[in-house]
Assembly symmetry: C2
Homo-oligomer: 253 residues x 2
DNA sequence: TAGTGGTCTAGACCACTCG
DNA sequence: GAGTGGTCTAGACCACTAA
C-alpha cells in the first residue's frame, strides 16, 4: 500500500493559482483516508519521506497534515509518528432522552477517571443553587467507542442531595442506580448549553486529538421531579465526531 | 497606540522550550485585542512591520495571526490588510423560545439575502415529510449585530402548506406574520440538531471570518400544532460567538 | 505602481521516543 | 544513537487591492 500512496503523491499538481499545493495534498491525503488506503490506527510515513514523495518541502506538507490534525483525522505523537485517528461516524447524542449517554447503535464504554469530594465549582453552584463552599461529589468520565475516546465529562452531584453518591456509584457503577439509592427515581434534563471552543492541552491528550483542535462543549443541569438541582455536567467532544439531537415532544406552543 | 504595540512586541521572550515564540506572540496580540489596544475594526500594521517589531520572520508571525483568524478575532483581506473583527460577547440563542432569533440584550438585524421557489432540499424533504420534487419557498438570511454578521440561515417553507409565503413575507418582513397569514398561529420547534464543522468559502465570506474557521451548525424543524412540518432551517454561526441554550420546562420524566 | 497578504523553498536546530 | 515531529530563519515569487 506504500506503492499506492506513492502513485497518489506523484500525480502532477493542478495550476497552483487555482488551488494551493498544500490544499491539493490535503485532498489527496483525505481521499487516502476515506478510501481506507491509510487504515485507522496506521502510521503514516515520516514527514521527510512524505515531503519527498509529494515533491514539496516539509513546511508545505505539514500545512496539509495540520489541517487533517485539526479535523481530528490524524494525530501526531512527537518522536513517534503521525497516526490515523478513527473518526468513522458522527455519533448522535440525544440530549432529551432518559440518559444523556444514549448512543445510536454503537457499543461504547464509559470509564470513570476520578471521583473526589470537593467544594462545588462556580458553574455548578450557580446552576444547582448551592451555597458558597457547599460540597459536591465530582466524577470525571471518559467515553470510548471502539477504543477511541470521543467524550469527556465532569459531573458534580451535591452532597446535600446525594450524601452516599460515591459509595453507591462505586458499588454499582451506574449513575442511575446512585440516583435511585438517594430516592430519586425520575429526573429531567432541565437545561443544556452548547458552545464551541478549542481543546485544552489536557483535553487534547485525553481525547487523542491535536492541540488547538475545535471541540463542542455542553453544560447541562439535571433536576429531580421537584425541580431540585441534582447534577451539573460539563462535557466535551471532538467537534467533527458528534451530532447533538434535541427533541420537543410537546405539541402546541 | 502604535507605540504601545511596539513596547508589547519588544519585551523579551520566555524560554522557547517552555512555550514556542509563535504562541507567545499569540498571547501578546490577544491581550492587545482584549485590552482594546487594537480596537474593533482597526487595521493591524503590515505583516512585514509586525514581524520586524516582534523580531521574528513573517512565517512565525503568521502562525500567531492564523490562530487568531481561526478564532474569528482577526480577518485578513488579501491586498488590503489584517483587521480586528468584533466578537465582543457570546450571544445566547434560546432554541426553545417562541422564536429562534431571540437574542439576549443585543440589537440585531435580520436581512434576507434571497427568496426563491424551488424543489425541496433532501434534508428538508425528509425532515418535513415532503414528496420527491415538492416545492418550497427558500429564504436565505444573514443576521448582524452591530454591523457584524454572526448568523447565516437557509429556511425552507413548503408551498403546499404556505402557498402565499413569498408575498406575505415580502409584504410584512416577518416570518411570524407569514405563518399567521397561512392560518398558523402556534408552532413548536420539534427538533434541533447541532454539529460542528468548518466554514465553506461562501460562509466565510458572508460571515467575514477566515476560511477554515470552525462554525456551529444547526438543523431544525418547526411543526404546527397538528404536528405538520412547516419549516426546515439550516443555520451557521462562527464557533466562538454563540452559546445555544436549550430548556425543558416539563417536570418529571 | 506600490503595498498587501498567500504561498513556497532549502536549509537548520531542537526535544522527544524508542531500541 | 537514530529517527521522529516541532520550531524557526531568510529569503523569494505571486495575486490581489487601492490610489
Amino acid at each position: 500500500m506504500d506503492e499506492r500512496l506513492h502513485s497518489l503523491a506523484k500525480q502532477p499538481y493542478a495550476d497552483k493559482r487555482k488551488q494551493p499545493i498544500w490544499s491539493q495534498i490535503y485532498d489527496r491525503l483525505r481521499s487516502a483516508l476515506d478510501s481506507g488506503l491509510l487504515p485507522e490506527g496506521s502510521r503514516l510515513p515520516g514527514e521527510d519521506d512524505l515531503a519527498h514523495m509529494f515533491g514539496v518541502t516539509r513546511v508545505t506538507l505539514r500545512r496539509a497534515l495540520s489541517l487533517l490534525q485539526r479535523e481530528g483525522r490524524l494525530v501526531s505523537r512527537k518522536g513517534v509518528g503521525v497516526f490515523v485517528r478513527s473518526i468513522s461516524v458522527r455519533y448522535e447524542v440525544r440530549e432529551t432522552e432518559a440518559f444523556n449517554t444514549a448512543l445510536s447503535g454503537a457499543e461504547s464504554t464509559m470509564e470513570a477517571l476520578s471521583l473526589v469530594r470537593k467544594p462545588a465549582s462556580d458553574g455548578a453552584a450557580e446552576a444547582l443553587g448551592l451555597e458558597i463552599g457547599e460540597e459536591v461529589t465530582e466524577v470525571r468520565f471518559i467515553q470510548y467507542s471502539q477504543s477511541t475516546p470521543y467524550y469527556l465529562a465532569i459531573k458534580e452531584f451535591p452532597v446535600s442531595v446525594m450524601p452516599g453518591f460515591a459509595l453507591d456509584y462505586e458499588k454499582t457503577g451506574s449513575i442511575l442506580d446512585a440516583y435511585a439509592a438517594a430516592g430519586i427515581h425520575s429526573y429531567v434534563r432541565a437545561e443544556t448549553r452548547i458552545t464551541g471552543d478549542f481543546a485544552t492541552e489536557e483535553e487534547a491528550d485525553l481525547l487523542r486529538i491535536s492541540r488547538q483542535a475545535p471541540v463542542l462543549r455542553s453544560r447541562s443541569i439535571n433536576q429531580d421531579s421537584n425541580g431540585r438541582g441534582i447534577e451539573y455536567n460539563r462535557g466535551c467532544w471532538p467537534m467533527l465526531s458528534v451530532e447533538l439531537v434535541f427533541n420537543n415532544k410537546t405539541s402546541g406552543v
